[in-house]
Each structure stands twice: as C-alpha cells, then as structure tokens.
C-alpha cells in the first residue's frame, strides 16, 4: 500500500520528468503573432469614436438601405431581409453579389463595434468549409468574426473584421485570402435573435465571398454553457436540437471524429444541455446549472456510450466485470445480480425504432460499502463511472440497442424518491424524442 505522503512524492517526481522550458520557436511565434494582432478594447473605448462623426450616421443607414434593397432584389432565397427604414443614400450604388470589395467601390463602410447580443459563440450545423459531418462554431467579439470546425476552435476560418452597419445588420471584411475568400472581401448580413437571445438567424444580404455567404447564413444556437470549456449549449428554448460531440456508435479505443447531430432531441421550456462530450451527454432542468452547487443538484438525464459492467470485486474501479457482454440483455441480467442494487422488473422500450429495456435502481437500505473518500454507500455499476448512492438516490437506467453491437445507456437520476417521481414523466418524454443518426 502506498501511503499518501509517498504517493505525493512519487507524483511530484514523475511530474518533474517533463521539460520546463518553452522552446524559443514558440516564443518567437507568439511575438510574431502579437505584432500582427490588434488588441480588443472594451466597448466604452469606442464610444468617443462612435459619437464623433455625426455625418457618418445617415451614410451608414443609407448604405444599409441600399443593401436591403439589393437583398430584396437579388437574394430572395433569404426570405426576410433586415428591417431598414431609410431611403437609399444619393450616390450609393448597388453592388452585385460577388463584386463587393472595397476596391470595387462597395458602398458599405465599416461601422462601429458589434452589439453585445452578437458577441458570443454560436453552434450550427455542418458547413462545407469544415470536415465532413463536423459541426460548426462561429465566434463574434466586438470587432472580429471567425468560423471554425466545432472541435477545432483554434483553427479559425473565414476570419473577418466585423462591425455593425445598421439596425440588425453587420459587415464582415475578410482579413486574409483563404477559405475561398480574398482579403478585403466585404459582406453584409442581417441578423435576428429569438426573444430569449438563444437562437440567432443570419441572412446573407450580399457578400463578395460566396463561401462565406454559404457558411454564415442560417440558424445558430447560443453556446451558453456556464463552464465555457465544456462547450455545451446551456439553457435551451423549447424546441429540437442536435448534439455536437457525442458519438453513441463509436467504440472505446476507436479514434473519435466529429459528427454533428449524432443525437437529435426535443425539450420543453426550462431545460438545458449541460455536457456534450464524445462519450457522454447531459440534459438537466436549467435550474440545476451552476452556480447551483454539485451537492444541491436533484435531477439530470445522462447519456453514456458503450457501457460495460463494472467489476464488483474491485468496487469503484474501471475494471470490467469478466464474462458480462455488452448487450442490453446481458447487462440487464447482470444488473439484477449486483449486490446491494435493488432493481425493478425490466421493461421493454423502443426509442427511434431501437429496442431497449429500462429498470429503476436504488441502493439497498442495508448497503454500507462505498468508494474511497466517499461517505455515502455507493454502488458503481457501469463503466465509465456510472454509480448510484444510497440511501435516497433513485435512477432509471435505460439501455438501448443501437444495432451492430452498439449500446447506449441513458440514466434518469434524482436525488430522492419524490424528485424522481416528479421528474420521470417529463424526462421520459425527452428521452423518447431522441433520434439517432
């Protein structure tokens, strides 16, 4: 047995084995990038600049109106155009789509910083500029725009300077010749948000770069994850959504590749997506999001891909129980033999045409065993890391056979029986809305 002090010494010694000096080439690359990168100033720093050129306002509005008309005439595919009330500015010209660059006399000059409502990360369907099947992320700050593959935000594409040019409109100007755009290409887009601000609809009024026009226009969901690095959507409006990262059919050990919309789900008002990872996905009542403390949480729906039985002679380890196959039937049969785990009679279910079984779980009131460092009685029953604690927690475990040997575990968890009883009907309706790609 390794003592705690010994382990700490071993861990520190092991960590010391890695290098401590940043390579010079990395520092050089940083300094070169800094030389070419402007700083982002807080919006208030823009206010003096915005208020100074008063004669700029009618010019911008007039130009925006021209674009609106151009949009109406040329871009009927976009349906509704932005709401612009001004008449065309004398002398303005309508630039046909495909020729709108400053050097061609495109009439829209850069405007002020983008409104705060746009400044966020937004998630969208696959676009042709990213890898096949991958989802897409767009990021606005006060003065820039970039699009990236959803799992590769460091690789910015279609990078553009961005500015507001009228009510409900913004202007993009390419900062590099790449991704089918030429540096300086200008586009103008209309934008509207849902009343909650969680859904953004962009329409391409005009853009010299058709690649960007095709990629930017469309519907985007706010990535409002309370913990930004978790890349989830956060609170949701009632409606139908798609997953971004989870891959229910990817086996452990197989390299993950992105597939947008592997799961489609429908939620009523008041729900949130709190996690979306390659092997797990969570939906919770929005009230359960941070800042609610972990200890205070009462309900969630959790998805785990390709679950396996956890060995009970090595409790709380990642060890697979020998001889238990990864099929719905064998897992259900095995679960009913797990010491201390009280299970209901299995019930069949069909989700998106895939058969499965569900059973309710709780920890026997006499069960005492726990995991290291925990005080409650716990039974960890599925890999990876799926457990139930006693004596009050309740779970409904749904195992779905996705075909070809792929199994998905769906856990409806509640902190106690009353919460469980109230939670299950609504949670089950969400689960039954799942559609698998």
């Amino acid at each position: 047995m390794t003592t705690e002090r010994d382990f700490d010494r071993i861990a520190r010694a092991w960590l010391e084995l890695m290098p401590d000096e940043a390579p010079d080439r990395t520092i050089d690359a940083v300094l070169r990038a800094v030389d070419a990168t402007p700083q982002v100033r807080s919006p208030w720093r823009w206010l003096p600049w915005r208020s100074r050129p008063m004669n700029r306002i009618p010019l911008v509005l007039g130009a925006a109106a021209v674009v609106a008309i151009a949009g109406a005439l040329l871009m009927s595919r976009t349906g509704t155009g932005p709401e612009i009330g001004s008449s065309p500015s004398p002398g303005s010209t309508i630039a046909p789509s495909g020729s709108a660059s400053p050097s061609d006399g495109f009439p829209i000059a850069a405007g002020g910083p983008l409104p705060s409502e746009l400044q966020a990360r937004w998630m969208g369907e696959h676009r042709g500029v990213v890898a096949p099947d991958a989802g897409t992320t767009i990021i606005f700050d006060a003065s820039t725009f970039a699009l990236s593959q959803s799992n590769a935000e460091n690789v910015r594409q279609l990078t553009s300077n961005a500015s507001a040019v009228g009510t409900g409109q913004f202007r993009l100007e390419s900062t590099a010749t790449t991704d089918g755009c030429t540096k300086g290409d200008v586009g103008v887009y209309g934008w509207t948000r849902s009343p909650s601000g969680r859904t953004l609809t962009l329409v391409d009024d005009i853009d010299a770069c058709p690649t960007r026009a095709g990629a930017v226009a469309g519907v985007w969901w706010l990535m409002g994850c309370p913990i930004a690095e978790d890349f989830c959507l956060g609170p949701l409006d009632a409606g139908t959504y798609k997953s971004q990262y989870i891959r229910p059919r990817v086996d452990p050990g197989v390299t993950w590749t992105p597939e947008f919309g592997a799961i489609t789900y429908t939620v009523p008002d008041g729900w949130a997506n709190s996690a979306d990872w390659p092997t797990t996905f969570d939906l919770v009542p929005a009230t359960e999001l941070p800042p609610m403390a972990e200890a205070d949480k009462t309900r969630h729906i959790g998805l785990v891909t390709q679950p396996t039985a956890m060995a009970q002679d090595k409790p709380c380890s990642d060890t697979v129980a020998p001889g238990v196959g990864r099929t719905v039937n064998t897992l259900v049969t095995w679960l009913r033999t797990v010491p201390g785990l009280v299970t209901s009679k299995p019930t069949t279910i069909s989700i998106d045409g895939h058969s499965g079984q569900w059973l309710d779980l709780r920890v026997d009131s006499g069960w005492k065993r726990s995991c290291d460092g925990e005080t409650k009685p716990i039974i960890a029953y599925l890999n990876p890391g799926t457990a139930i604690a006693g004596p009050t927690e309740r779970e409904r475990l749904i195992l779905v056979d996705l075909g070809d040997g792929d199994v998905l575990a769906i856990v409806l968890w509640a902190s106690d029986q009353a919460a469980f009883d109230a939670f299950v009907p609504e949670a089950m309706s969400i689960v039954e809305s799942f559609r698998f790609k």
């Binding site: 047995m1 390794t2 382990f7 010494r9 071993i10 861990a11 520190r12 010694a13 092991w14 960590l15 010391e16 084995l17 890695m18 290098p19 401590d20 000096e21 940043a22 390579p23 080439r25 990395t26 520092i27 690359a29 940083v30 300094l31 990038a33 800094v34 990168t37 402007p38 700083q39 982002v40 100033r41 807080s42 799992n151 935000e153 460091n154 690789v155 913990i227 930004a228 690095e229 890349f231 452990p252 390299t255 993950w256 390659p278 092997t279 797990t280 941070p290 403390a293 972990e294 785990v304 396996t308 090595k314 380890s317 990642d318 060890t319 697979v320 290291d372 460092g373 890999n383 990876p384």
Partner: protein, 183 residues
C-alpha cells in the same frame, strides 16, 4: 511586473514581450504536463499568449496577470485536447528507457510507465487539476479560481485523479484495465 502589464495593456508590444519571456516557461511546463505532448503544449501556449495580448486591455487587475494567463492556458489545453482528439482512448506505451533515476529511488521505470498510462486515461479536466496541485502547488481554492469551477468540483477531480493514479501503481499486478474513455 505590474508596470509591464500596465504598459502592455496600453498596447506596448515590447512590454508584452517581456511578460512573455517572464511567464512562458512556467506556462509551458503546465501545458506539457497536462497534454503530455510537446507539440500540443506549444500550440496551447501560443494560443493562450496571443489571446492574452488581444484581451489584455480588458484585464482589470494587473496583479492578476499570471493567474489570468494560466486560466487562458488551461482553456487552450482543453481546446488542443479536443482538437487533436485521438483523445487518448488508445494508451500509448512508453519506451522502456533504462533504470530509474538513482536520485529518485521512489520512481521506478515501472512506476513511470504505470503513471503515464493511468494519467493518459484521465480526462483533460482531471489532469489539469492534478498538475496544478502537484506541479504548480496551487491550493484547491486557487485551482477552482484558475479553472472557473466550484471548489467542490476541484476537490472531487483531484480526488478522482489521485485515486486513479494511486490505484495504477498499487495494482500493477492486476489485469490490465480496459481502455478508458474521457468524458
């Protein structure tokens, strides 16, 4: 350093270069330990420092510069791990490179190998907490602040990571743990 930060906030690139030279080794050391890959760590460091430059005017307290950059770096590590996601479902086997360092009798080659394997199975979030605690020496409260997570979450992540690595070196005669997955 506060003066350099203030100058850099005003757009002074030379001042920022001095900050880069002053902090990049410490930041790289964190990134390479979390990501276990020099190339990924360099990318994360570069991304974090360029972001720091861009966002520096919005940093309210110059004294918080290093903690703030560390947070940007951890986020960049998360992004790198996600971007290059073969995400270590396959555990690489380290080459056996001779006997243990005689100055480090606690750390045998077997321990190194076991720790490396177990560490690569941890999620990037668990790795970050473990490195910030055992390498950087941050208290749990500081780790929670650095990562933007509740202290309880930091504690449970450290507990899980520690338990996983301890189990690895204590159970080296046990059957091989099946390939883990990060979530």
């Amino acid at each position: 350093m506060d003066e350099l930060v203030e100058r850099a906030r005003q757009g002074d690139r030379d001042a920022f270069a001095s900050l880069v030279h002053a902090t990049s080794d410490r930041m790289y050391a964190i990134a390479v330990r979390i990501l276990r890959d020099s190339d990924l760590a360099q990318d994360a460091l570069q991304g974090a420092l360029v972001t720091a430059w861009r966002q520096l005017p919005n940093l309210r307290d110059p004294a918080r510069f290093e903690a703030w950059v560390r947070r940007l770096l951890i986020h960049a590590c998360y992004a790198e791990a996600r971007r290059r996601r073969s995400w270590t479902a396959n555990v690489r086997v380290l080459p056996v490179d001779g006997p243990a360092d005689p100055d480090s009798p606690l750390l045998s080659v077997v321990d190194r190998d076991l720790l490396e394997r177990a560490f690569r199975r941890l999620s990037i979030e668990h790795r970050a907490v473990f490195v910030l605690h055992h390498h950087t020496g941050l208290a749990l409260v500081e780790i929670a602040e650095a990562l933007g997570i509740p202290a309880g979450t930091a504690r449970s992540r450290l507990h899980y990571a520690t338990r996983t690595l301890r189990d690895a070196i204590e159970a080296d005669t046990a059957p091989v743990i099946p390939e883990g997955r990060m979530a």
